[in-house]
Subunit: 420 residues, 2 copies
């Protein structure tokens, strides 16, 4: 018999195509357990808890809850509100516990990346200190795929599949029109890790297919080498298709966009990137002397449920579901559900558990041996890793020619602990 | 009994998701007619004719020819080579006729936009002057949808469907994370016409859905009005999703990007645009004081066969097919196949014929009455026009998680009229 009480699920950070599938896994599983009295959602992540803006999933239609499986972007609302250490954000943490107590919330399921796992870890510790019995579980989510202690992250397979498709298609465009537009640059997301850029390698089936060159933050970027690479590709294929991670750095670990003065920081202190493609265009037009253009899918790439990976979506659901099972049936707390690969071919993947603090304090770059020596493409090891993650398509209902995504009602429940 | 001889098909200008469906229509129809002896393709548009780089469709596999129906971007190769007036490009036109004669090419099917129709018109006139009997047919193609004398253009329905989907998805992203990233700008293609930007209106099903504001080149852009619009949307919905055509102009018809000095011209003398989204971002951050980010799908938007419109694809095929039928069965020449809408609901569309010279010298902007008075969204008339064009999805074969597009072999046939 598990701990009796209500549960709350929250989504945090940048959304993904499958972040709602994880929420769906939590909600549908939680509703099966008699111990769980109320199944709540926090509106806009941790802000919803702090402001006591909470809604009741029993007020949502089962069809809409099921629709979370094919609806992209955080349907509960997300935020980038940063909680610091227990000491520095004491008031916020105290407030969270106050709201939990007011609603007898005994289960907290937090879907997010490193920062969210850090927050969840601190809530776990605080609840223990306060002798308030609860279960806190993390559910991994990031298109960046840079969480450690998990084979990969829900959200990654879908951005990988979509971006590889977009590169394949834009590559055909370059092939068709290279007599004038010789070079295309595709800017991929990925602040510190090159996972997203790397995945576009899957688009290449034959020599000459796009992408010809992939640059990732893990390999120091040199303008000299870049110009050399471009000239080589140009003389071989008559055209150049380049994928560049947004966070490219030079040998002294400086972002190559630094020169443009486009720096700004978000509320987590992360550098906001942009402009890599434009810099590369300038270099190419000046040094390689061919016309270059660039594409930057921006937030479209992380929400492309219309061509998402079914494998990714199903694993996202599984992570949510397993978080509930472990918490209710085994009294697990302070852990994140991880994905554990058992084999590549046939692909088999199960879930595991890892300490929240461990995940919070680590980052997983693309291993250097998965990038070729010249630092301009991935190796076969990466292809073997990424290929299973993009398999299968999610069936999205179509209405009048466009996807029919659901919207939750998210009607806030009455406040029991209003802020003074 | 039609004119005996061979035919050649060529693709020109910016590719689309369905430009190959038109080529497929030409080739599959041509192969049914005994009068047509050889079915050839020009490699890289008119350049392939000038350089006598021609391939034989009978050397391609029927599966690959069929695969043109779901393969985006000009599979024959395209170019932006500009032929001027008969006087100014005399040598080029003479060369084209020389190559036609060498291969007994009596049918020329040219898939393209205004400029291509102009070239096709001149070839028609020249062949008459030279007493070389042939049939010249234009097949419309442009994502820009700005050809006159046709209800719409093949290529448009697919970019409309895809961009509306991308806006719907990126809109969900903005909805989820508006507590920090309050404004998203989506830059749509469209040099002189706002058709592509306008189509994203289809993404809005309910009030509050993205896009909130759409700016098209047809309505003069005013920074003052823009800031006012943004502030209104912000106070109403707490977030802003803007679609901007790349060719926005101010009241004096100057491109608003002119200030940035990013001007360049392509070989047709067209201004190369880019940077509208970034300018709007700067205005918003300074005047509305919220954080803005932007997405620019670039060439990805026009090649997105993975979520193309079946209606568009089928009409593209039909245009190719009808061009052949008219030329062979009715001795039509000097005409472009047009799309003629018979009704909106149920949608019925047939084909017609229009003089090449007529099409060549006209452009069709979005009618002002299809744009609202404030110039920041479309009216119901536009929605009625565009909705049928995005219906249905093209089934694309998937291999290992990604689309399996075909590649033609394009093995050049021996030259009969080599350049000295």
């Amino acid at each position: 018999m598990g701990l009796k009480g209500s549960c709350i699920v929250a989504q945090s950070g940048g959304p993904t195509a499958v972040i709602n599938a994880s929420a769906c896994g939590v909600v549908q599983e939680a509703m099966k357990h008699g111990e769980i009295e109320g199944v709540y959602g926090a509106i806009n992540g941790v802000l919803g808890i702090l402001n006591e803006e909470i809604f009741d999933f029993r007020e949502e239609s089962p069809d809409d809850i099921e629709g979370l499986k094919y609806t992209p972007a955080a349907a509960l609302g997300s935020c980038r509100y940063k909680l610091k250490s227990l000491e520095d954000s004491r008031e916020d943490y105290a407030r969270i516990m106050e709201v939990f107590k007011a609603h007898n919330i005994r289960y907290f399921f937090y879907i997010g990346g490193n920062d969210s796992m850090d927050t969840a870890d601190k809530i776990t510790r605080l609840s223990k200190e306060m002798d308030y019995e609860m279960r806190v579980m993390g559910i991994p989510k990031t298109v960046d795929n840079d969480l450690a202690f998990t084979d990969h992250c829900p959200g990654y397979g879908s951005i990988a599949k979509y971006n590889a498709t977009a590169v394949m298609e834009a590559g055909r465009d370059t092939d068709a029109i290279y007599t004038t537009d010789t070079c295309t640059i595709f800017e991929a997301m990925g602040r510190n890790a090159g996972w997203i850029a790397a995945a576009t390698a899957l688009a290449r089936r034959e020599e000459g297919d796009a992408p010809h060159l992939i640059y990732m933050p893990e390999a120091a970027f040199s303008i000299e080498q870049f110009v050399k690479d471009c000239k080589e590709v140009l003389s071989k294929f008559g055209r150049i298709f380049i994928v560049a991670g947004e966070g490219l750095k030079d040998a002294s670990s400086e972002y190559i966009t630094a020169a443009t003065g486009e720096f700004a920081r978000d509320s987590f202190g992360h550098v906001q990137l942009g402009g890599v493609a434009d810099i590369l265009k300038q270099i190419i037009e000046k040094e390689v002397k061919v016309k270059a253009r660039w594409n930057k899918l921006g937030t479209c790439q992380r929400e492309a449920m219309h061509f998402a990976s079914k494998t990714d979506r199903d694993e996202a659901y599984l992570c949510g579901q397993m978080a509930v099972k472990h918490a209710v049936e085994e009294d697990v707390t302070g852990k994140m559900v991880s994905l554990v690969r058992e084999s590549d071919e046939p692909y088999r993947c199960t879930t595991g558990l890892v300490g929240l603090a461990q995940v919070a304090n680590a980052e997983k770059p693309v291993p250097r041996e998965w990038i070729n020596e010249s630092g301009n493409f991935v190796t076969e090891k990466f292809i073997r890793y990424a290929t299973p993650l993009i398999q299968g398509e999610v069936e999205v209902p179509i209405e009048n020619g466009l996807p029919r995504y659901i919207r939750l009602k998210r009607k806030p429940i009455p406040k029991k602990s209003p802020l003074r």
